[in-house]
């Protein structure tokens, strides 16, 4: 740890009155200590009781009003919230950073369940574009179909659609698992960097285009492979994992995972060729 410095000269920021404390050069980063977990505070989160349940009718609410109401209910300790009449509204159920049972009795529009970290969400309907974008953790289950950009840039969690999804599913995903019971459109797994995608049905053109890493499993026909996406051997370990995941997702009960196609990154694109030798070693 660096020693405190005796600084007499004011910085420009101090002269402007932006702050008065002396900056010492010591790192400002706080490292998480698991032993102090109970002291760790995650801003904007609540301790909720899953047995405390309530309904919320959002028919005559804007998305902002509905989300604020959900936040208020969580602050009161409600751990199971049933949303009535979402009627395809955009941006519902976003920014939830704690555990919560959230049930939508109907369909959502665009950007539903965006930037969440922890909730278990069930949508008894359809979702529009960009559902569960940036999901960090938790589980989202959609009973019907989903639009394009499903699970864009997710970092973790399980995202399950029992119907079919549009184009660019899992675009830019960096972790987590996406499971689709039906078909998927073009550019599935476009530029994905980590994580796994499971499609039980057919998939459109340019599958896994420009993917950096991660794995895609396809049960049906593949429209075409994208740049640098290549088939790979499906191992026994892969099959065991697929069976477990599908069982947890409650879809594809009798699906024969042994016939699935596994797709990975060929790692031949320019971004690998242009790495310094030491970096290339790390990438490969």
């Amino acid at each position: 740890m660096a020693n405190l410095k005796n600084v007499t000269k004011k910085t420009k920021a101090q002269e402007m009155g932006m702050h008065s404390e002396v900056l010492t050069g010591r790192t400002q980063q706080k490292f998480f200590n698991p032993d102090e977990a109970e002291n760790f505070y995650y801003f904007g989160t609540y301790d909720v009781d899953f047995n405390k349940r309530t309904d919320l009718d959002v028919k005559d609410m804007t998305a902002a009003e509905a989300n604020k109401k959900i936040d208020n209910l969580m602050s009161e300790g409600y751990g199971t919230i049933v949303i009535k009449n979402p009627q395809g509204k955009h941006s519902l159920g976003v920014g939830i950073l704690n555990k919560l049972n959230l049930i939508f009795e109907g369909s959502l529009g665009y950007f539903g369940i965006g930037s969440c970290d922890g909730p278990v969400v069930r949508i008894n309907g359809r979702v529009g574009w960009s559902c569960a974008e940036n999901l960090m953790a938790g589980k989202v289950v959609i009973e019907k179909n989903a639009g394009s950009c499903f699970g864009a840039a997710i970092r973790g969690g399980d995202l399950i659609c029992k119907g079919s999804v549009g184009a660019r599913t899992g675009i830019d995903m960096k972790g987590g698992t996406i499971i689709i019971g039906g078909d998927a459109g073009a550019f599935t797994g476009f530029m994905m960097q980590r994580g796994r995608i499971i499609i039980l049905g057919d998939v459109g053109i340019n599958l896994g285009d420009s993917m950096y890493d991660g794995t895609i499993f396809i049960g049906g026909k593949i429209g075409s492979y994208g740049s640098d996406a290549v088939p790979s051997d499906l191992t026994k370990s892969d099959q065991d994992w697929l069976r477990r995941k599908l069982k947890v997702a409650e879809i594809g009960e009798n699906f024969d995972v042994s016939k699935m196609t596994k797709v990975v990154a060929g790692k031949k694109l320019w971004n690998y060729d242009n790495l310094e030798p030491t970096e290339k070693k790390g990438a490969i």
């Binding site: 955009h90 665009y110 179909n145 459109g185 073009a186 459109g204 053109i205």
Partner: protein
Amino acid sequence: MCGIAGLIHRNKSSNVGFELQGMLQALKHRGEDSTGYALYGDTDGKNFIARIKIGENVGEGSSSVAEDVSVYDQRKKEVDACINELGAKIVKEERILPYSLRYEIEYNKKDLLEFSQRIESIPGVEILSMGKSLEVIKDLGNAKMVCERYNLDKLIGTHAIGHARMATESGVDIKSAHPFWGYPFSDVSVVHNGQLTNYWNNRRVLENKGMRFMSECDSELIAVYLAEKMRSGATLEEGMKESLSGLDGVFTYFVATKNSLGMAKDTMAAKPLVLYESDDLVAMGSEEIAIRSVLPQEIDTYDPFDGEVKVWQI
């Protein structure tokens, strides 16, 4: 970004003017520079209905140059005279706004090319639509404003398509607003969401084949492209399928004829479309909330896939 919506009732007529107004108003956040309707009303099918623009809306936000109303009056006289010279008869006329005419015309020829060319040879005059059922109404403002201005909420018909526009690559004016008539084909209209990147290449080719463009809006190309395909003997659906490779860029578009409604989505699937389909009704729009304005109950909808073309008959 623009929003598009359309619906077709199968086996019955409905208040499509009011229904489409609700759908487009739900999409107004996607653009309200202008809004347009292509309504297919119930008629006896004897006369043509022509929607003719003899000037521009120069209200707030317009990119058009103001003209005196007397100029519109003079253009109307020339239009009336020209219709008589063509051997057609004006059965009924309405001047809803100083720059907007609605004529019911008795005209016995099927080919509307000569008729259209003669009328549009009058400077400042454009036929927005012509057909036995189709009426294209478009103006500046959101769906509710345009609907009220033209009293569209009472129109009974079988199907309709519409467009809420955010102007990006051409002016805020009526001539660049959607829908576009599939000139010179009776009862053909098009709305589009997206950008076409080979507009000028296609336009040059089509103009050399004698096709007409009234604006520099890339979306007009779709109407002209399909019209040229049909003129060459292709069916509407064949033309739409060819457009997936003939048009470059990102697009979702709807096209309607007297008894059908179709949709096409580019191979990148870059533009949104949500679709509801039942035995009685097909409704579709850029967002589900457009469909919910006519079907508030829980329904099953889906996104058509990339490169998909669908056509429904009434």
